[in-house]
Assembly symmetry: C2
Homo-oligomer: 132 residues x 2
DNA sequence: TCTCTTATCGAGAGTGAGTCGCAATTGGGT
DNA sequence: ACCCAATTGCGACTCACTCTCGATAAGAGA
């Protein structure tokens, strides 16, 4: 993965290695603030703006992806573990929604508008059973 | 609608009347910036923070609703004309999606998680035919 | 290993979209 | 007309980024 970076003229710097390691260790989404804390516990001088830039770079590379869960800040994860979400707008409860839930919508959107949905980028808001 | 406000202990102030008139005149979503410009063309002293507070108040009343179209700022419209959107994340093209497109997802989410979706609050991102 | 080009970095200022605290104003029930 | 809580204007503030800039350091080539 680091050589993928190099192949594009990029460089495998310490802050990128650590960021990638942190992302591999996180088996859930992490906000930038959380990622920064984890990276900085190992290399205190890594600046927040570097984390943002590296996340952007790695995302362009297709290695990671970000998701918006409601109104909060973006969350990042490995591209391989990206998935859709249902998020309760009252209590914040979150469900990970498998792609097949969106099969009907995906088909209808394609037929009617030629539109290909990516349900993983923004969560679907609504109410959970308790809050409904 | 103003008496609905009063019934709740609220007041029908000039800025609220004008804001509502602007919203009734807009037959599309409007960003806060646009709404502010329209309101201020009629009453220049209305402050942005007042617009924000009034939008919040009217939304609590159920009269208006806001929607997030991708990464941009929120957009507001009358609650009666709220609907779901498909938004191309490359070119920004927007489709208004009728509720029946979401019927399958709504049913599946309810059955599997007891979750009631509100597909109008956040747009569904993806790629339009041209950008796919 | 040394050099050199330039990608990347840390630091800090800047931006967009709201949100908050406060004193002055005003709607509207009485 | 009176009164007082709701509302307003204003500015300061927060949050989540984003940009600029001079310094640093990867890593390709010698």
């Amino acid at each position: 993965m680091l050589s993928l970076l190099r192949a594009r003229g990029g460089r495998a710097t310490a802050s990128r290695r650590i960021l990638l390691e942190v992302l591999f260790d996180s088996h859930d989404h992490r906000s930038v603030e959380e990622l920064a804390a984890a990276v900085q516990s190992r290399a205190p001088d890594v600046h927040l703006s570097t984390i943002y830039r590296n996340l952007e770079e790695l995302e362009e590379l297709g290695v990671i992806a970000h998701t918006h869960l409601g109104h909060g800040p973006a969350t990042y994860q490995l591209a391989t573990s990206a998935h859709a979400h249902l998020l309760c707008e009252r209590c914040g409860r979150r469900y990970e929604a498998p792609a097949e839930l969106f099969a009907g919508l995906a088909r209808a959107a394609r037929q009617r508008y030629g539109f290909t949905i990516d349900p993983r980028h923004f969560a679907i808001l609504g109410r959970c059973a308790e809050c409904a």
